[in-house]
């Protein structure tokens, strides 16, 4: 039993260091990609389109739904305690600081993260990754780096989009249901919004995008030879990216609270 435990610890530690090494190489290659990315520019464009553009409808729906729910609950509940003006602050905290980045990350993990792991895993099985090596093309620089940049850029814009739809879409809902004048609503909303909210949101989306792409590509490349490994690695990739995003969310929130 001790032997098995020792083997497990050794394997886990070795995998952790391998993962950290992969993450470091990917960050370096992504930085270098910005200087010499011409060869894999089409991969980047395709990634931004798939992650960014195609996720717009689903995110709009989620964001509008949450924004509307918060404002309906807030404007009906908070005035009972004499805290009606807090509704806007809560809306901003929920949409911009917390749920916006996290839900956007979860949607991207489910759509793009799983797609990246599946695609790269199948490429390993079909020897396509080996073919890149054989041609003198580094698969991390050519395939993973543009995906990391694409997912991170898309994550930042999708997060801003989520916030805009959530904040201003809720405005339309509040006007329709409670008859709140649009101008007054917007004035209160903008007054409640501060630089820290935007900074926190942007930093979270940058970190989450980086985590999602790193984890998805790492698990994709971890497939060794069998097609049956692909769904296993995809599930592992989803679990790991969601866990890491939630942990990172807590850390960034604490840092901003203390800052």
């Amino acid at each position: 039993m001790i032997d098995a435990l020792g083997r497990h610890v050794r394997r886990t530690t070795s995998e952790m260091f391998y993962g950290l090494g992969f993450a470091w190489v990917l960050q370096r290659e992504s930085f270098l990609f910005l200087r010499r990315g011409r060869i894999s520019l089409p991969v980047l464009v395709a990634q931004v389109y798939f992650t960014g553009v195609e996720a717009l409808p689903i995110l709009a729906l989620i964001s509008l739904g949450i924004g509307a729910a918060v404002i309906i609950q807030g404007t009906s509940l908070l005035p009972q305690f004499g805290q009606g003006e807090l509704a806007f602050r809560i809306l901003i905290l929920v949409i911009t600081r917390e749920l916006g980045p996290l839900l956007t990350a979860l949607v991207i993990a489910a759509r793009s993260g799983s797609a990246i792991t599946t695609e790269l895993g199948n490429m390993v099985v079909d020897h396509e990754i080996e073919a890149y090596h054989a041609a003198g093309i580094d698969p991390i620089g050519f395939l993973a780096a543009p995906r990391l940049i694409g997912v991170t850029v898309a994550m930042v814009f999708l997060n801003l989009y989520f916030s805009l739809i959530g904040l201003f879409g809720s405005c339309a809902v509040a006007s329709l249901i409670h008859g709140v004048p649009l101008g007054e609503y917007l004035h209160n909303l903008v007054s409640a919004l501060n630089g820290g909210d935007i900074a926190s949101s942007v930093i979270k989306s940058l970190v989450f995008g980086n985590i999602l792409a790193t984890v998805a590509t790492y698990y994709g490349f971890k497939v060794e030879r069998a097609v049956t490994e692909v769904p296993q690695k995809t599930i592992a990739s989803l679990g790991a990216s969601m866990t890491l995003c939630i942990v990172a969310n807590v850390v960034i929130t604490i840092l901003f609270q203390q800052g």
Binding site: I39, E119, M123, D126, H127, E128, E130, A131, Y132, H133, A134, A135, G136, I137, D138
Partner: protein, 250 residues
Amino acid sequence: MRIELQNVSVERRGRRILDRVDAVFAPGQMTVVLGRSGAGLSTLLKTAAGLVQPTGGQVLYDGQALANLDHRRRQALQTRTGFMFQDAALWANSSLLVNLDLPLQAKFPGLGPAERRVRIDTALNSCGFAADLRLRPAMLSHGQQTMVSFLRAIAPGPEALFLDEPMAAMDQRWRGILIRVLGELRAQGAAVVAVSHDAELARVLADRLVILADGRVLADGAPEAVRESSDPAVREILHDRFAAADPAGE
């Protein structure tokens, strides 16, 4: 380019696939590696091509040990070689044109699209291969995909060419073309290495035969010398490979 395997061993999950292999693949020479399935043929080829890391020994490219080279220099060396995979291994999400163009972009970063297209057309014409290059690989037959894999390997003008079962999916016409083009590449000074279960390539083009069994080199030399080997294991493998193609015997 001269490629040398010195005392190379490869182990996977406790199983020894290559066992202290020594081999030299010289410029202007065609080497055919023969053996039974599971003998370590593909592993030998991939190790020589730098795609598999040996667990023992070393692989030298023009005297430089691959293991001592940094990532970038290793990649630069690999742009000078070509590899044709047994199952084609074309990039499925890219068009045929991209499949042929990427290795050229990697090897000649300064070359413009028009110049690269000239090189692609030259390779296509040399093999008389005609297809709509906007198609994805899945639209082609397996034989055609194998041919594109061959074209992808030769388009950048490799100094060393590795072929994994090149004849397996090809009809007689493609086989003839492949043999002619390989002869031309050899004449231009490329080191050509093929692993094959097919005797035709060995019979027509080989300057050297290497016989592999259970990861070990049983025989290595000129085809005539190897075919006269008294080792029963070598004779058995040669008999299996050549009997059908050459009824006159070994």
